[in-house]
Every structure is written in structure tokens, then in C-alpha cells.
């Protein structure tokens, strides 16, 4: 069934009886050509693009819980392609371009809203670094603009510049960046993949791999063995655990990142804005909640919750930027488990096992990558060659010394 304004009106007038399930709940078949482990945004997108772009059939997505229950439903919904390094920027820009046509492609309104992102800068050195980054963005075909303080204040007049400990010098704006309704991204991909015949199997946890002679045969699951010609793991947050079933140790640590939303408020923030003298980013959802976050708590964790010091740190930066938020109320906080890689950059690669592929290490930046991650992973799964925008995301880059370290923090995951 196609969604449309006409259809909404028709259903409204006929008691909404015509809406069918957004996706089916099929039982698993004995075997598939492709099994994608993980019904998050990336896994669902991978299945969708495998079916759509690479014309592959017989695809299943296995999800241990309910689809979209992991990080795709726990992030701060920011979509952007303001990266510095050549290993990253083409990929994220490719992703942003996919976002720009996503809703029409999926026939699902994910409320992709290009209201821009501003990274504030507070020192000469930071300005130099942002100019370098803005140039890298433009060289890679993305958009970037350098704003001075006055231009930033035009958009955010209540930014603290009167008594700012870290004065705002200006900002780097990517106007095409913005936010999207995170759950809708998962549901939209699920519905579109389902319509192309992908089996989305919920409550089906992978408990092991069947591997013979260095080749994958299938996966053991809580709902029985499922054969597969190719298996793509896409389980950020659980990567180390799942890949350990294949005997792999990864350059990844799991960390908790908290996110926050305020009570609903009439519009105050037009786009996404980030504090440059710390770790704070904020936007306002269409419902009116301020959605914000900061740094990871900083210790290995698989608990989807954090602790008070980071909550305080995030709020301090919020109030430092916008002292008018003092009386706004924090409504809810939650936590997600981040695959923190050793250089802060994701991994999308084959493994040493024939037919087993890995996609993970997204740190706290996976949401914006969803379309491209699905697309390039589908490409890798279908063609066994990396997509041209994702050639740097190799698993062996720490061996060869070709790290992609956007922040220059080195092999300490909690600093990325």
C-alpha cells in the first residue's frame, strides 16, 4: 500500500480500516541467500538496498528484539556530513545525498529536515581547524559556510556572548545538515524492505555461526538454524559479542552515550548547534522537545544507562551556551551502547571467514550514516568489493597504520 495525502484523507473518512501492517512478521525460512544480523537502521537499510539496488533476492534480517530498538531509536537524530578526513567525508556526503531523497524513495516520511548545523568555534586554532574542515567538505562536494559571531547570533540571538567563559568567535555551518525522525527511519526501511520481499524476523537472536573450512554456512538462532550464503553482521553495540562467535577480537570497545530531551517548548532553536569548547549538541524536535547530548560516559559499558557526572557536564555546557535554558526542564534521559572503534571511524569489511562480513564501530555517529552504511554494505555483500566511498573502513587499517582519526585522539576509544 502506498502512503499519500490522498490515502490519509480517504482513510480518515472511512475509519482507518484500510491501513495494513507496516511490515509482516514471517517465520524464518530454512535458508536465505543473505542473512543480515541486526534489525537496526543499518541492517534494515542494508536489506533494502540489497533488494533494491543490487537486485538480490531471498534476504532475511534477524533481530534479537524488536526492530529499531537499539541505537537507531536512541540517538539525537542529527544528520550531517561535516567531516574532515578524506577517508570519511565522501562517505558521509554520499549518505547525506541519500537522505535528501530518502522519503520519496521509501514512501515514508522520516521528517528529514535540513535546518542546518552550526559548530561553534571559540579560539583561533579552532577556527583554523574548522576552515580546514570546511574546505575539505567543499572539496568533497559537500556544502559549508563560515559564519562570524554576528551571523551566528542572527540565528541564535540568545546565545551567551555577554559573559561567555569561552567566547563564541563564529561557526562552521552546513546548511544541508539537519535532523530526521529516528524511529521513522527504521520503520520506513523496514516497510520498504518488506515490500521488496525481505523477511524481517523479530525476536530472533543469533547465538552462533556455522562455519566450515573457513566458509560461513549459516547462523544458529533462538529460532533455530538458518542457512545463508552470505552473512552480514550489523550489530553495533553488540559487535564484540557477536563476532566472538566467529573467533574474532575487534578493535572496538563498548561505551555508553546518554541522550536527553526536554519538555515540549515553542520553537527556539532553528537547527542543530554544537558547543566548541566541550561536548554538547542540541536541536529542537518538531514536537518541541530540545534534543541534546554530549560526551560518552567514558567507561566500558553494556548497560543502556549512564551516570550523573555526565548529565551534569552536558547541562553545564547547555547553560554555558544558552543561559535562558536554566528554567527549561529535562524530561527524560536514556543511554545507548556505542561501538567505539580505536580511531573513531567505522569498519565495513569482509572478515577472514569467507561469506562473513562485518559492519560496526560507528562510535556515536551511526545514525547519519544509516542510508550510506546500508548502501555500501549491500554493495560489499553483493559484489565483494568495497564501495568507492568506503574504501578506508578496512578492518586491517590498524595493522597497516592507515587509521582514519578524525579527532586525532589515537587508540583510546573513550577520547573519540
Amino acid at each position: 500500500m502506498r502512503y499519500s495525502g490522498f490515502r490519509v484523507i480517504k482513510e480518515a473518512l472511512t475509519g482507518h480500516r484500510g491501513w495494513g501492517p507496516a511490515w509482516r512478521d514471517p517465520d524464518p525460512k530454512p535458508d536465505y541467500d543473505y542473512v543480515i544480523i541486526g534489525g537496526g537502521g543499518h541492517g534494515l537499510a542494508t536489506a533494502y538496498y540489497l533488494a533494491k539496488e543490487y537486485k538480490q533476492a531471498r534476504i532475511a534480517v534477524l533481530e534479537k528484539g524488536w526492530i529499531g530498538g537499539g541505537n537507531v531509536g536512541r540517538n539525537t537524530t542529527i544528520v550531517r556530513s561535516n567531516y574532515l578526513l578524506d577517508g570519511n567525508e565522501p562517505f558521509y556526503e554520499f549518505s547525506l545525498k541519500l537522505w535528501e531523497g530518502l522519503e520519496q524513495d521509501l514512501n515514508y516520511n522520516a521528517m528529514m529536515s535540513q535546518r542546518g548545523i552550526i559548530n561553534l568555534m571559540h579560539s583561533d586554532a579552532q577556527r583554523d581547524a574548522y576552515i580546514r574542515r570546511g574546505n575539505a567538505m567543499i572539496l568533497n562536494g559537500a556544502d559549508a559556510q563560515l559564519l562570524d559571531q554576528k551571523q551566528v547570533l542572527e540565528k541564535y540571538p540568545f546565545l551567551n556572548v555577554k559573559n561567555a567563559r569561552f567566547p563564541v568567535m563564529g561557526g562552521l555551518l552546513q546548511a544541508r545538515a539537519g535532523t530526521a525522525r529516528h524511529d521513522a527511519v527504521a520503520w520506513g526501511y523496514a516497510r520498504a524492505a518488506d515490500q521488496r520481499g525481505v523477511d524481517i524476523i523479530q525476536n530472533c537472536e543469533v547465538t552462533g555461526f556455522r562455519i566450515e573450512g573457513g566458509r560461513i554456512l549459516g547462523v544458529e538462532t533462538s529460532r533455530g538454524y538458518i542457512g545463508a550464503k552470505k552473512v552480514g553482521a550489523c550489530v553495533a553495540g553488540s559487535s564484540s559479542k557477536v563476532m566472538a562467535y566467529a573467533g574474532m577480537r575487534l578493535p572496538i570497545e563498548s561505551h555508553v552515550l546518554q541522550a536527553f530531551v526536554s519538555e515540549g517548548l515553542k520553537p527556539v532553536l532553528p537547527g542543530v548547534i554544537t558547543f566548541g569548547a566541550g561536548h554538547f549538541y542540541c536541536s529542537q524536535s518538531d514536537k518541541g522537545g530540545l534534543v541534546f547530548g554530549g560526551n560518552i560516559d567514558g567507561y566500558n559499558s553494556y548497560a543502556q544507562r549512564g551516570n550523573l557526572p555526565m548529565v551534569e557536564d552536558v547541562m553545564e555546557e547547555a547553560i554555558a551556551m544558552f543561559p535562558m535554558l536554566g528554567r527549561a526542564r529535562l524530561l527524560r534521559s536514556w543511554g545507548g551502547i556505542m561501538d567505539m572503534s580505536m580511531d573513531g571511524t567505522p569498519i565495513i569489511d569482509k572478515t577472514h571467514i569467507d561469506g562473513l562480513y562485518f559492519n560496526g564501530g560507528w562510535c556515536y555517529g551511526g545514525f547519519k550514516a544509516t542510508p550510506a552504511s546500508g548502501f555500501v554494505y549491500a554493495h560489499l555483500l553483493a559484489t565483494d568489493t568495497p564501495h568507492h566511498t568506503a574504501t578506508a573502513f578496512r578492518l586491517d587499517r590498524f595493522h597497516t597504520g592507515h587509521m582514519v582519526d578524525e579527532k586525532g585522539m589515537g587508540n583510546q576509544p573513550n577520547l573519540h
Binding site: 528529514m112 518538531d286 550523573l308 547541562m315 535562558m324 597504520g401
Partner: protein, 984 residues
């Protein structure tokens, strides 16, 4: 208007009538009122509008679970949107305004949405507004955004202060109802350190709201007496107005004390609120329970409330929402409301009980086995329609309806560490599971023990068990007699209707929306919540979640626990963002570090800049200088011509001592340090283990077993931490002692050809500064100005003949004044960071711009410093091929071909003739300046194979800033490349 719905009695202080304003109307109320109770007393039921359909709404509750009666409290910069009228403590002169309506609360044009609600079913926006794509941001979204949101912020800086504090206790008791008070009494009398937090301003919980006797007196009187007893105990801290918002790891709880919210303005110096971080050995959750609604058609009109709230308003606040009240219940507790109201003189027009076996009463009419299937009243309830048990309907006029669907234990904090509540069939409610946050136990209604006697007993027992666990001998205070009524309930969740029955009243989620979610396969509780927005409003679903689950269970043909439970996450109630920030805002966001010469520099009119929390002088403008470049150029030229002085105290200084000090430094620096002679300084490069440069600095050997090493300002703390890691974790048997001395010494750079002459005037007799006696890279401990101990290093960042001189910090101010005085004859000049930067770029010295966390020694042209003859941190991983590519980036100097051009930092480098694309990128500019010595702009940058491209003309592009011109690749050592000046 008089307080027409004010009753007798209650826990309010009628000695004074306070005036307050809601919207444009003035009213009277009393101390002890909430805004909601005062408005109800004045006959006002309509207090808000719902989120989506702008339906008229009044208070549903008398507490912090309130979904409907939310208002903008106060005006001007202190405006607080979305504030629950049910928890606002009245004060004289209070002002509040309704929100999310236009133009007024009684006539809200946005209520047109209500008429269109068929089109706005759950998730409708996912299915439309997609064409054309560009219309989303331009047309649809602005309309949606304007319509959405609730209250509005003042957009002015919050004028009030907040504090953070830290408390420690044996036992934290959360909630001061019967269970909490009994627990506090037990633990307090046993001598344990107890903190009792209650979110209300009047501690006592439901004891203050009910009429039954406790220990022969009213519950409220017993509560007041008990609180007074507790307050007299030195080991007990009773904290009213304090909400425990979160249960964090290892017994840490966050609690917010509303110190001044009951005042118009905080007292001078006092905070508005305090965030307490409470470290507890054990916690006892006594958070009570919340009455839940029954869902039926048009169940959202102002005047339709929790039955227990109607009772609370009558008993505690002596007010009623209307003169005629009906009750709708599925359990015996609803009848308690009826009888309490009758006792207060309120007419109970009917009690509609869903149970055929409902108790009867001589005081009021009971419809056993009936349900309410419709209500009337545009801005407030005027009539209900009862579907009678034997068929037929009955219409009853009433201004208020108390609804009781049973009670939900307040399990929220039990879920904060992943615990999921479990279903209790007898109570028809979720109760805490066994998986509680470590250290927490639950008592009273929060644990499903609903009678007063049960709550008292369970609180006392809970405390005893905890005391035993802590090894504290428990006292056993006598508990008062109290009612022990059993729970009698037959679950009844909703009256089926084809029309709209409200589940989540703030977000306007109806029973139909839940059915639609099921129809579209959004069946798991997480999908249900997210698709319909059920429970996502500011009340966090406290009154709506269970009804929503029950309806989904019914549609899906499952039992409630099979559908799932919902997770509750911090904070327990919405919490002002400001209180989490505490005093950390404005200039106090982070500490400010001042250099020893700060006062003096300020006198000179210096302009300061932030550097790693330090404020450092950026330049020292002279009268007539209108642009910073003029000051900077003058400082550079004067230093290079004669002598300049710069405060370099902020650079990290670490004292390294011990027999193995030299061997230790050999491990942490990639270049050799072991053979550095005493009295000498050496430049050192520290790598991270991954082979990337961590920091650079100098090591000065003051004795065989004593070094002072320096770090950059920004890296002082991480480098010290790293050294401790190497010392304790990697080489535990090295004899090395470390301590930071950064702040102990005021250190100044004295640079320029006249620096020796200047210093000779202040060093004490016998100190020979000649090049022979004290050559480049020498160091010594000396005395100056007639006996002050000092350290002298002949090191140079500027490339001049230069020294760094350090004295105890308290003399830093005096020293800079002395140096300036002594230097007058040389035209000495103070120079700031800008001039320092120019001079170091002229010399090709690197700083943080070059040591950006991705560069290797090889990139910096220092590849040979990484000794292969020894083990040092980072040396091995430096060998990886990716860090040794043949076309690696190399540090180069850059000069514009056209001398008028700038060479801006952040620009990228391209080979001449190549297309300007990322794939042709050859490098980037790291540091740039105007060199007054060379008379043109210059820069440092990294260029692929840069060391072999000296003399090449390349293209510099910065599309971001509109720059595109040619530059020449030169040696990074622009100025005095042979270093003759610094060795002079």
C-alpha cells in the same frame, strides 16, 4: 471572585489571604495551597489545553503526575513553562499564565485540530507531507513546529543561581508517607545516618490527604509530630521539597531540593534549587502509588479527575472542583472518596461502580455494574451519561467526576538500573521486581502494600532489615494503630467506544490510536509508545502507560505482562536544566587560571585570550594602535631588535626525580635523554603508543637524579597522567618520583639580542651569563635581585638569544616589573601570544596546530629523532607502513608568490594544474601569520613529499573563504635558518 468552592478545615493557613493572578484574573488563596487547589477553590477548572487537539483541560491529579494542568509560572526572565499547577506552591503575588493556546484559554483557535482529528490519527505524519520534497522545510514543518510545543521560554538569561551539593548517609529514604516516616523513625532512633526526602512541601504523603486516624489522631497530625521528632535527631536530615530524580550506580542518588521555588524571588545569595548527589549505603523507596484512570469517551473534560485527587483537594486543601461530584470506580477506594466528600459537605450525586457486587452506602447513590459512556460540558464537565447495568442510560448533572481505576505502585526508581516491574494479579498492577538497583529496597504502597497499617509496618520492617545488613542494632519504635483495609478491585480498563476515549491526555493519544498501532503492526510496547507518542509527554506517562498497555493487550489478545512493561528513566519528574549546571555558568563554567603577571599585564592594557583554562596576554596595545597586527608587529620587531618579555608560566612543568629518572625519560621521549649532561636542556618529542606525536617540550637536567620537564600548556595534565601510567603500570620498579610544579614557578621568556644584557642586571654576582659559561641549552639554579632563588634555562622558542627565568610564583609580578624597569635602557617590550606565534612560525617551530594528533615525527621532519637503538613509547608502532608512506606529509614553509597575498591557515594545497578536488589534495596549512621581518605573509603546512618539493610553486585553495592563489614551498625555517642568533 470569592473562593466559592472553598470548604472548611484542611491543612491551609487561612490567617492571610494571598492574591495571585492566573491569566488576566486575580484570585485569593492561602499559604499551603497549590496553584491548582487555589484555582479550584475559586471555581476555576479549566487550566490548560492539550498538546495536539488543544482540548480544554483541567487538573487530573493533585501531584507531580499531572498531565493536564500545566502553565507558565511567573513572568519575565523567571518564566517557567510547563509547570504543574498541582505542585506549584502558592505565594503572595504569584502570577501564572495558561499556555499553548491562542488567543485565549477559553477560546483557542487551534482547537480546530480537534475537529480534524480523524485526519490526525496516530502516525499520520509518516504517511504524507512528502511531496514535493522541498516543501517539508518550507511549508509543512514550519506549520507543525509553530503548532507544536507546549509553553514558551522567556528567551532571557535565567537570573537565579543553582547549587550542587554532596551528602552521605547510611540510609536514604525516598518519600515521607507512612512507610517512609516509619522507616525514618526506626533507623533514626537506631542511630543510623538517615536522609529522608519528600517531593512535597508538607511531609507526610497520603497521611496529609486522608481522613482516617493514625495512633488516635489524624494522619496529618501524626505525620507532623513524627517529622518534628525526626528533625530533632542530629543523625536524621529531613528534606522536604526534595525530589529524588534518579538512582545511579553504587547507591548514588540525584535529588533536587527546591529551595526558593515557593518564594517570588530567592533570597540574596541563595539558590533557586540545589542538586544533591547523595551517596547512600542503602536506600528505601517509599514513593507511594498513583491512582490510574479508567478510559471512556470524552473522559478528558475539566472536572474529571482521579478520585483520590478529588479527595485530596477536599481533605488537605479544603476545596472541591464542583458542588456536585460523581465517582466512577472499579474498586473500593473510589468509595472512600465518596464518603470523605460527603463528610465535607460536598454532594456526591452518584457512585458508578463497574462491579456488579459493589458496596452500597446510605450516604450516596451507587450504580453497581454501570459504566460512564459519555460526558458533556465544553470547558468543564456539566453532565455524565451512565450506561446502566440492566440496559438503558441515565444522565446525571455534575461538575466533577472522580475516577478510580486502581492504584499503580510508583516503581519508577526501581527501573533506573534496568529492572523491570512484574505484574501482580491480585492488585492488577505492576510491582517492583527482584532486580532492584543494588542497595535499594521498597516499602509501602510503592511495593504494593496499600493499607496505612501495612505501609507503616513495611517501612519499619524495611528499615530493620537494612540496619541488620549494615550491622546497626535496630530500635523498635512503637507503630501507631492504623486502618488495614484490604484491596478489593476488579480490573476494568476502558469503556469501549467508537469515538474518542483519552489514554494519554497530554499528548492526546486515544484508545483508537492504540488499536491503529496494533493494526499496523506497531505492537511491541516500544513501537506502541514511539508510534502513538503514548507516555512521551511531560508527565512521562505516569497516569497513562498502564491503561495503554492494557488496551494493547486486549486488542492483541494477550495478557498485560506479555505486551511488556515500560522502562522508566531518570529524571523521576522533569527537572530544571539549570540545577544540573549548578554554579557553572557564565564566566564560572570552568575555573579561570591566571598567570603571575596577570595584574601587571592588565595594567598595561593587555588583551587576553583563553588557553587551556589560562588567560594569557595576546598582545599589549600601545596608544594609537588601532589593529592588533600593529601591536603584534611592533612586539616582534622590538624583540628581534632588542629584547622582549613573555609570561610562559602556563607551560606544564613536571619535576622528575630518582635514580632511574633518566632511564624513565628515555622511555617516554622518543629521542635519547639518558646521556643529557647535568646543567643542560634538551628538546624532546613524546609519542603516543600508536606512534603519533603526543607532545613536545624540554627536559632540563638539574642533577644526576633530577630533571624538570616541560609540556605544552594544553597537554600539561594528560602528559602528567601518562607519565604516572608509565611509572606505575609499565615500570613499577623504576626509582622515579613525579610531581607537577607548574604553578609553583613564575616563568618568563626573556628573548632578543639584548636579553643577556638585561638579565645580567638582575642575576646575582658570580653568575656568568657569557656564551662560554652559559651556552645555548644550558640551565642552572641561581639567585637574582640579591638572593631570590631562581631557575635559568637558555632555551629559545622565538629563535633569538633567549632565556627562560623562573622564580617562586609570588614573586612573578615583582619580577616582570623589575625586568621591565631594568630593560628600559634597551627599549624592552612585553610580547603576547600573537608575537610569540609569529616568531615561532618564522623559526618553523611547531605547536598544537601542527601536533594535531595525527602527525608523526616523520611528518614534522623529525623522523630521525625516533631512536631505533632503544625502546620508547610509540617507537614500535611508528614502523607501520601507513605512517611511512613514500609521499607522506612533510612540514614545509609557504610563501605567497604575490607578496600581497595571505596564506591562511586551514587552506588546502594542490599541485599546480590539478583540478581542485579532494582526490588531488596535497596537504593543508596549519599556522599562518604576517612576518614583519620578511615583509610578507608566511605559513607552515603539511605537504605530500614536502621535503622534496622546496622551491615548487603550488596552488593554495580555500573555497570556504574564497581564496585561490599560488604559493612557493620553502623551508619551514624562514628566519635565521642556521640558528646563529640563538647561539649568539
Amino acid at each position: 471572585m470569592s473562593q466559592k468552592n472553598r470548604l472548611d478545615g484542611g491543612l491551609i493557613d487561612r490567617s492571610e489571604a494571598w492574591s495571585f493572578r492566573f491569566d488576566s484574573q486575580y484570585y485569593k488563596g492561602h499559604k499551603g495551597d497549590t496553584l491548582a487547589s487555589a484555582l479550584l477553590a475559586n471555581g476555576v477548572r479549566l487550566m490548560g489545553r492539550s498538546f495536539k487537539y488543544h482540548r480544554p483541560r483541567g487538573p487530573m491529579t493533585a501531584g507531580s503526575e499531572e498531565p493536564n494542568a500545566i502553565v507558565e509560572l511567573r513572568e519575565g526572565a523567571r518564566k517557567e513553562p510547563n509547570t504543574r499547577a498541582t505542585t506549584i506552591e502558592l505565594y503572595d503575588g504569584l502570577r501564572a499564565n495558561s499556555q499553548n493556546r491562542w488567543p485565549s484559554l477559553t477560546f483557542d483557535a487551534m482547537a480546530v485540530n480537534d475537529l480534524l482529528s480523524n485526519f490526525f490519527a496516530a502516525g499520520f505524519y509518516y504517511k504524507t507531507f512528502m511531496w514535493p520534497a522541498a516543501f517539508w522545510e518550507k511549508v509543512y514543518e514550519p506549520i507543525i513546529r509553530r503548532a507544536a510545543g507546549l509553553g514558551s521560554l522567556s528567551l532571557q538569561d535565567d537570573p537565579d543561581g543553582y547549587d550542587k551539593g554532596f551528602l552521605h548517609c547510611d540510609l536514604l529514604i525516598i518519600g515521607g508517607g507512612p512507610a517512609g516516616l516509619a522507616a525514618a523513625l526506626t533507623a533514626g532512633e537506631s542511630g543510623a545516618r538517615v536522609i529522608l526526602c519528600d517531593e512535597d512541601f508538607l511531609v507526610g504523603g497520603r497521611l496529609n490527604l486522608e481522613t482516617y486516624a493514625v495512633g488516635g489522631m489524624s494522619g496529618a497530625a501524626w505525620a507532623a509530630e513524627t517529622v518534628a521528632r525526626l528533625q530533632a535527631m542530629p543523625n536524621v536530615r529531613v528534606m522536604p521539597r526534595t525530589t529524588v530524580i534518579g538512582a545511579f550506580d553504587h547507591g548514588v542518588y540525584g535529588a533536587v531540593e527546591r529551595v526558593s521555588d515557593h518564594l517570588a524571588v530567592p533570597e540574596d545569595g541563595k539558590p533557586r534549587q540545589i542538586l544533591w548527589r547523595i551517596t547512600s549505603k542503602r536506600a528505601l523507596l517509599c514513593a507511594g502509588a498513583t491512582e490510574r484512570p479508567i478510559v471512556f469517551e470524552n473522559n478528558d473534560r475539566p472536572g474529571i479527575m482521579q478520585a483520590s485527587a478529588v479527595r485530596a483537594y477536599a481533605n488537605r486543601w479544603a476545596t472541591t472542583p464542583a458542588k456536585q461530584v460523581a465517582i466512577f470506580t472499579n474498586n473500593d477506594d473510589g468509595h472512600r472518596t465518596a464518603s470523605d466528600l460527603v463528610a465535607r459537605g460536598v454532594e456526591v450525586v452518584s457512585v458508578i461502580d463497574t462491579r456488579a457486587e459493589a458496596p452500597t452506602s446510605s450516604d450516596y447513590d451507587v450504580v453497581a455494574g454501570g459504566v460512564i459512556d459519555q460526558t458533556w460540558g465544553r470547558l468543564g464537565l456539566s453532565q455524565i451519561e451512565v450506561k446502566m447495568p440492566k440496559g438503558g442510560i441515565r444522565r446525571i448533572k455534575c461538575g466533577a467526576l472522580g475516577v478510580s481505576g486502581g492504584w499503580n505502585p510508583n516503581v519508577h526508581l526501581t527501573c533506573h538500573q534496568g529492572g523491570r516491574p512484574v505484574w501482580n494479579e491480585a492488585l492488577a498492577a505492576f510491582v517492583p521486581s527482584a532486580t532492584l538497583p543494588p542497595g535499594m529496597t521498597v516499602a509501602g504502597a510503592a511495593n504494593g502494600v496499600f493499607s496505612t497499617h501495612g505501609a507503616l509496618q513495611s517501612g519499619a520492617d524495611g528499615a530493620k532489615a537494612i540496619l541488620a545488613d549494615l550491622g546497626i542494632k535496630a530500635s523498635a519504635p512503637a507503630l501507631p494503630e492504623a486502618e488495614d483495609t484490604p484491596v478489593k478491585i476488579t480490573p476494568f480498563w476502558h469503556v469501549k467506544t467508537a469515538k474518542r476515549a483519552w489514554v494519554d491526555q497530554q499528548n492526546d493519544v486515544t484508545a483508537k490510536d492504540i488499536k491503529l498501532a496494533h493494526q499496523e503492526n506497531y505492537v511491541s510496547v516500544e513501537h506502541l509508545k514511539r508510534y502513538t507518542t503514548l507516555g512521551m509527554a511531560t508527565d512521562q506517562g505516569k497516569t497513562s502507560n498502564i491503561a495503554g498497555l492494557a488496551i494493547m493487550a486486549e486488542v492483541a489478545g494477550k495478557a498485560i505482562p506479555q505486551v511488556g512493561t515500560t522502562m522508566f528513566r531518570p529524571p523521576y519528574t522533569p527537572t530544571a536544566m539549570g540545577v544540573f549546571a549548578g554554579r557553572a555558568w557564565g564566566m564560572e563554567v570552568r575555573p579561570t587560571r591566571l598567570t603571575p603577571s596577570h595584574n601587571w599585564a592588565k595594567e598595561q592594557g593587555a588583551v587576553f585570550t583563553e588557553a587551556g583554562l589560562w588567560l594569557r596576554a595576546q598582545w599589549y596595545p600601545k596608544p594609537g594602535e588601532t589593529h592588533w597586527r600593529e601591536s603584534c608587529d611592533r612586539e616582534v620587531m622590538q624583540t628581534r631588535k632588542s629584547v622582549g618579555i613573555c609570561d610562559v608560566t602556563s607551560l606544564g612543568k613536571i619535576d622528575v626525580q630518582g635514580a632511574d629518572a633518566a632511564g624513565f625519560l628515555n622511555k617516554v621521549y622518543c629521542n635519547g635523554m639518558a646521556k643529557l649532561p647535568v646543567g643542560k636542556v634538551r628538546y624532546g618529542l613524546m609519542l603516543r603508543e600508536d606512534g603519533i606525536v603526543m607532545d613536545d617540550g624540554t627536559a632540563a637536567r638539574l642533577a644526576e637524579d633530577h630533571f624538570v620537564v616541560t609540556t605544552t600548556t594544553a597537554k600539561a595534565v594528560p602528559v602528567y597522567r601518562h607519565l604516572e601510567f608509565v611509572r606505575q603500570c609499565l615500570y613499577p620498579d623504576m626509582d622515579v618520583q613525579l610531581i607537577s610544579t607548574t604553578e609553583a614557578w613564575a616563568q618568563f621568556s626573556v628573548a632578543g639580542p639584548k636579553s643577556r644584557k638585561l638579565l645580567e642586571k638582575i642575576v646575582d654576582d658570580g653568575m656568568d651569563l657569557s656564551n662560554e659559561a652559559f651556552p645555548f641549552m644550558a640551565c642552572a639554579e641561581i639567585t637574582i635581585c640579591g638572593g631570590l632563588r631562581a631557575r635559568l634555562f637558555r632555551i629559545s622558542f622565538s629563535g633569538e638569544l633567549a632565556y627562560e627565568i623562573a622564580v617562586p610564583t609570588r614573586y612573578g609580578d615583582a619580577l616582570v616589573r623589575r625586568l621591565m624597569q631594568a630593560g628600559e635602557e634597551f627599549d624592552v617590550v612585553p610580547y603576547g601570544l600573537e608575537a610569540l606565534n609569529v616568531m615561532r612560525i618564522e623559526k618553523g617551530h611547531v605547536t598544537g596546530n601542527e601536533l594535531n594528533g595525527t602527525t608523526t615525527a616523520l611528518n614534522l621532519g623529525m623522523g630521525r629523532m625516533v631512536s631505533k637503538a632503544k625502546d620508547s613509547i610509540g617507537s614500535k608502532l611508528s614502523e607501520r607502513p601507513g605512517l611511512n608512506e613514500p609521499d607522506s606529509l612533510k612540514l614545509v614553509g609557504l610563501k605567497p608568490v604575490n607578496p600581497d597575498h595571505k596564506v591562511p591557515a586551514g587552506a588546502h594545497l594542490m599541485t599546480k594544474g590539478d583540478k581542485v578536488t579532494a582526490s588531488n589534495d596535497q596537504g593543508y596549512v596549519t599556522s599562518a601569520c604576517y612576518s614583519p621581518n620578511l615583509g610578507c605573509h608566511i605559513a607552515l603546512g603539511f605537504l605530500k613529499s614536502g621535503d622534496t618539493r622546496i622551491g615548487e610553486t603550488i596552488r593554495l585553495v580555500s573555497p570556504l573563504t574564497g581564496v585561490d592563489h599560488e604559493v612557493e614551498v620553502v623551508s619551514p625555517h624562514f628566519f635565521d635558518p642556521e640558528g646563529e642568533r640563538l647561539r649568539a
